[in-house]
Symmetry: D4
Amino acid sequence: SRRGIPEAIFAPGKTVEEVAALAETALDTTGRAIVTRIESEEAAALEGLDGDTTYHERARCLVVHEPGFEPPEISATVGIVTGGTADRLPAGEAAVIASEIGASVTRIEDVGVANLSRVVDQLSRLRELDVLVVAAGREGALPTVVAGLVSAPVIGLPVSSGYGHGGNGEAALMGMLQSCTTLSVVNIDAGFVAGTQAGLIASAIADARP
Amino acid sequence: SRRGIPEAIFAPGKTVEEVAALAETALDTTGRAIVTRIESEEAAALEGLDGDTTYHERARCLVVHEPGFEPPEISATVGIVTGGTADRLPAGEAAVIASEIGASVTRIEDVGVANLSRVVDQLSRLRELDVLVVAAGREGALPTVVAGLVSAPVIGLPVSSGYGHGGNGEAALMGMLQSCTTLSVVNIDAGFVAGTQAGLIASAIADARP
Amino acid sequence: SRRGIPEAIFAPGKTVEEVAALAETALDTTGRAIVTRIESEEAAALEGLDGDTTYHERARCLVVHEPGFEPPEISATVGIVTGGTADRLPAGEAAVIASEIGASVTRIEDVGVANLSRVVDQLSRLRELDVLVVAAGREGALPTVVAGLVSAPVIGLPVSSGYGHGGNGEAALMGMLQSCTTLSVVNIDAGFVAGTQAGLIASAIADARP
Amino acid sequence: SRRGIPEAIFAPGKTVEEVAALAETALDTTGRAIVTRIESEEAAALEGLDGDTTYHERARCLVVHEPGFEPPEISATVGIVTGGTADRLPAGEAAVIASEIGASVTRIEDVGVANLSRVVDQLSRLRELDVLVVAAGREGALPTVVAGLVSAPVIGLPVSSGYGHGGNGEAALMGMLQSCTTLSVVNIDAGFVAGTQAGLIASAIADARP
Amino acid sequence: SRRGIPEAIFAPGKTVEEVAALAETALDTTGRAIVTRIESEEAAALEGLDGDTTYHERARCLVVHEPGFEPPEISATVGIVTGGTADRLPAGEAAVIASEIGASVTRIEDVGVANLSRVVDQLSRLRELDVLVVAAGREGALPTVVAGLVSAPVIGLPVSSGYGHGGNGEAALMGMLQSCTTLSVVNIDAGFVAGTQAGLIASAIADARP
Amino acid sequence: SRRGIPEAIFAPGKTVEEVAALAETALDTTGRAIVTRIESEEAAALEGLDGDTTYHERARCLVVHEPGFEPPEISATVGIVTGGTADRLPAGEAAVIASEIGASVTRIEDVGVANLSRVVDQLSRLRELDVLVVAAGREGALPTVVAGLVSAPVIGLPVSSGYGHGGNGEAALMGMLQSCTTLSVVNIDAGFVAGTQAGLIASAIADARP
Amino acid sequence: SRRGIPEAIFAPGKTVEEVAALAETALDTTGRAIVTRIESEEAAALEGLDGDTTYHERARCLVVHEPGFEPPEISATVGIVTGGTADRLPAGEAAVIASEIGASVTRIEDVGVANLSRVVDQLSRLRELDVLVVAAGREGALPTVVAGLVSAPVIGLPVSSGYGHGGNGEAALMGMLQSCTTLSVVNIDAGFVAGTQAGLIASAIADARP
Amino acid sequence: SRRGIPEAIFAPGKTVEEVAALAETALDTTGRAIVTRIESEEAAALEGLDGDTTYHERARCLVVHEPGFEPPEISATVGIVTGGTADRLPAGEAAVIASEIGASVTRIEDVGVANLSRVVDQLSRLRELDVLVVAAGREGALPTVVAGLVSAPVIGLPVSSGYGHGGNGEAALMGMLQSCTTLSVVNIDAGFVAGTQAGLIASAIADARP
Ligand SMILES: Nc1ncnc2c1ncn2[C@@H]1O[C@H](COP(=O)(O)O)[C@@H](O)[C@H]1O
Ligand SMILES: Nc1ncnc2c1ncn2[C@@H]1O[C@H](COP(=O)(O)O)[C@@H](O)[C@H]1O
Ligand SMILES: Nc1ncnc2c1ncn2[C@@H]1O[C@H](COP(=O)(O)O)[C@@H](O)[C@H]1O
Ligand SMILES: Nc1ncnc2c1ncn2[C@@H]1O[C@H](COP(=O)(O)O)[C@@H](O)[C@H]1O
Ligand SMILES: [Mg+2]
Ligand SMILES: [Mg+2]
Ligand SMILES: [Mg+2]
Ligand SMILES: [Mg+2]
Ligand SMILES: [Mg+2]
Ligand SMILES: [Mg+2]
Ligand SMILES: [Mg+2]
Ligand SMILES: [Mg+2]
């Protein structure tokens, strides 16, 4: 796999047969197949794949490990921070991928800018992690607030919630790009990209550890 | 004046003579003239107007009171909250107008989402005011954070700072429209509108006071 | 509840079970649950909730009061002004929320800029109210016209009607932000926000009343 | 000239020499030259042209009639309606062109949606005219209101005033396209197009007159 | 009816009962009901209305005349020009409305800018008409070409065909607003507006006829 | 040089010294230097370059040939078609580059969609050429019309003229992308790209010639 | 057929009967009918057409040749280059049309910018072709990279893949318009246009061949 | 300093006096002052500041170290990769900041997607670095290509070059957000953010080193 990033199959727009064939190849060549944005019924249709199959419902991801596949483990931590239920899927996608890269993943949920005390309550947990993915929809201000409180690199993950002007994640993306604290950003709902970038940073840190 | 809102003359695109003529008429008919978005040199050129002239540098507003004009006074308070120097002009405009409507105006400066402790330090001052105008550029998250901490109505005033995607206040406007706490919003840099709306609310509150 | 604003559950994207669980919690902790953007069939599926259940069809809102819940009452009035049937849902949402905050709510319907005489006919009713939410789709000019005729604060509520260039409420939002009379604005179809902001202003007025 | 529309030379981006040469040709072939968007200094530099020269300052248009040129006259009226000083230039352009087409042009100024009584005061004048060009910047609601009160065809002329979101005439254009009364529209600041279209309609009416 | 424009009921977003009630009222007060954007099944559900019912399939319009209703007739002609099948519905809408206003309506079909000879073939028919509505989707160049060939006023009607960048009629609208021949324009797919504006102009011409 | 395309130096944003250094290198390595978007004064400052210098004023391009440089010559023709003066610079840029590639370049000017007879007058010249670059601003319809009349490949070159909605070439670009005749397109004002693409096609044709 | 380009029928928005009638006419007048963007079920419904019918599944195109129809053959090659499965349909459309024009078409698949070695592996095949259509979605960088490696003209075909900001092909289109190597571009998913333009260039080259 | 990120003063919109005052405070409290986006003349006006002053011309940054200030040094490397002169300023800003954070900074210049061999030539240097900032304007494809070749985390820095549709960095930003290799992104021209984010990652890596 390129850069230690497991290959993933993006399911939308592909037939179940196409996904199955691509997964088969991935299993044969890398010992693992990851399918993103796949609904549970379609995932069920892939059960025949030869290996250990896990369907991550809240992430809409299917992961298959060939019998005997040794998942990597790296000594670095990735935090995935979310505010509400709308952030679940992209954040879940990021968590699954970072986990498959081998990082130790911590979910920190229900923190939002409308209620700062919940952010403050999580401060010590937030400060313990090596890299943070902070997901947010609507106005997308949570990564800005979190990045102001921690020293680890923060990756903003804008989520396609909200409606009207700036809905579908455009306000969240813009806000993160304009953030007055230091962030880097991925595209709207791009949980896979956020998770792999977090995984790359975690790998670099883990590699540096003695 | 309509709705107790003093008429104001928007200077850009008008010659000094045109502004002077409009100000003259305003003085004659209402005892007061307010000119917004006027640079100090142009304001100086209007010194001949008959009355008490004040040029509010940080707000780029000129206010003239006819000799004997009795400025209104209302028993309600308006807070104008800002984060940085870029917010100065629109916030200043709001402050001048709310003041001319007769509200007691308090400026709360240097609070920003990148440094929450400064917001928390101002909490008791913020909670004492009747209406708040909260200005913010770049990602425009400050009104959301403030509105989550106070009970008074908050008017978000997006400021045309920032650069790149979402610059010129578009990210700030979008973020305020998507805010997950309750806000109403005015256009980018529309300090005059924010100030008059705050003044109308303050007037309604003052009128209700026994 | 934050700022006297009742918590509301935004139904789209949530399963009936998720909504039910959130409503249960809201009932237990605050004595009331409000669900917005919920269709009648889904609302029916929530009938088992323990309390007085009202489904506001024209507003797509479900309100549940625990037995013994004392709804607040505040001595201030909110007017909800609309032009046509397209404005019904966002305006209904605003009305339900303002009502639950305890304000006395008046609906003024069928006034539109294409027929000014209907606006003029309602003038005395419009002038009696403490705060106005004025909803409008297409070109969104009604709040501008109404705000020019009354002294109370006006909140513009753009509605996602219209088609072609500027459809889906974008023209209405832009027009309200550019209004040549003083308005503050909420996002397209954000009846909940308009209603809570009107409720906050009405509360401030009511609190000031002797 | 095409369709009875006098050719016009659009000055921006052309040197004075280029404008002079094009004007010379227009004079020679049609007896008349019209230059739009030309500042007074540049217009002065064209004084040497052989003919009767008029510089319309408020319209930034230069009109030259060859000695002996007989301007057309048509028995139909065009009204040009404006709200404020920002509408002056596009409206002036429309007036000059409609006039050169031969229509009898009436200017109706200082009517705006923020103050409906001024619109109502002009009602009988508005109802006497054959075609109306209604210019408006910011939220652009005036054409909608006027079209609801008259039977003549109304052409909406959006003006590039306003600032922030929807500024530079975009809100006005969108609003006119979404108008809930019948309008047709020209581009932002396209006074020349509004004036020629009004002139074509006036010509058709005049031709029909016995 | 306002301005001689028959009221029309815009069906989308309304239930059949709502449409029926509005049509009933229109019949009672004006002797006629027009429903636009209505599919044939819904139109069938309205057959019980008391009067002469015509469903214009290619225009998705339903017209009902009360027994004894005298449709107006005006002595002026409106041409409706189209290029392809995608233009059918908006153009049909324009034709039905202009017809109901009483104009004599001529359809000129299958002329497009990709094949100029078809335009030229229709030249004498095009030049005989009093007003033209020219519909076009994709790049929307047909009204520009037609307006360069005739003296009558041309109303451009952009159609929501096309795909990719500028699809859904945005390219057509922009192109018509930028036209280098004189046009006025209505919103994308706004056949009703184009038809009523053409009808108003035709009425003005007819009124002027001796 | 890559693909037979001469390297060109894009002057904006570079100092005269930087341009001179880059030109020097180009002369030394390829025997030729081409500078685009350079004003005459800056071009004059480059006169010291060792070689034959030509400044193409209408194209804002500077071309330098080292003494002894043999410009290529290919046996294929490129037509550059324009409507008005605004198209001059991008079209000039295309012409210079195609010429330097060695094609025989023909300019066809003053043809526009507002006056089809001028297009028709040029038909036989248009049909003789191997490749056409057709420049157009405002609504950008000329390439569509030309492509419907010839068999050679047409490259649409949108020009940043026009104002208001769709100004600065956006309407022209959109219209060309939506064209109902076959075109390929380059970016707004990208005369260099249009000229090199035309040159590549001409080269392929010339290479095929026996 | 115009310019040697076979007429094609764009199926979306047409009933099967309408498509059948248009195909019938095409067969009668040109000996061939091509239908684009047609799903397999609809294509099946057209089997009754008199002639040799081929449904190109991966291109969603139906081609019918009248008995005895002699497809053209030209001595020039067109390459269709793609990166992934999302590019399949537009690229397929381009391939079918170029083929019907008579060019010899080569598909080069699975080359993408994320893995440059695959591009390099194809270099000699890429360099043998007369014209290239390079399809790409998401960031659309493949045509830029390919054009830097070959001398033949490259037509960029942006594909509506991707999601979030710049999704639906907008990023790909923009990137190709900004390409730092010479490309011309067609609209998003406009495989038909890319194929016909490639065909026109191939025809010009073939015509030049001795 | 927050997160080890040195505070920086953004010069645009501030007077020299304001910048000087802020720099003075920064020097007093942190021993260092960094001013970004400052032209050389303004930087010269700040020479009076007490400390070691360096003006980075290619980065438009001024750095002042108080006498005795010990710049941090961290054992991690940051690569700054650019294609052309337009990328100079944002890339320079990133380099200065990463350097001030204490990272060892390597500049890799003149690599671009139009000429892949230059990228390949730098491969071993690229693969040695801990974090990469890859700047690119126009179509912004360089970070995608580089990220496909290295294992270190890549931060895409879009640059406001280019013109026409997608100019000013919008195409570059969109392309990076759509990248088919893993990247995180900062706003257009946000060299300061790219440099600090790279510095935070480098710091995390350095901290992990034994
Ligand atoms: N219709 C609505 N429009 C806007 N905000 C809403 C609406 N309904 C609920 N909310 C807000 O959204 C929050 C709940 O969001 P959620 O957690 O997604 O249910 C509530 O606290 C409200 O502040
Ligand atoms: N102010 C204006 N706005 C729009 N179109 C104009 C204007 N002035 C002139 N024109 C049109 O532009 C054409 C001349 O453009 P040009 O060749 O650039 O001078 C004339 O034939 C008019 O149709
Ligand atoms: N897939 C396609 N993409 C773009 N244009 C097409 C396509 N298929 C057909 N066309 C064009 O559309 C015209 C037919 O359109 P229509 O009359 O709507 O069937 C043909 O002459 C072609 O120029
Ligand atoms: N070139 C820059 N780009 C983005 N952010 C910057 C830049 N320079 C300084 N900053 C940030 O802006 C803040 C200072 O802004 P200001 O108060 O306007 O001087 C600093 O704390 C930095 O986080
Ligand atoms: Mg931090
Ligand atoms: Mg609050
Ligand atoms: Mg009012
Ligand atoms: Mg009317
Ligand atoms: Mg004409
Ligand atoms: Mg052709
Ligand atoms: Mg090449
Ligand atoms: Mg990599």
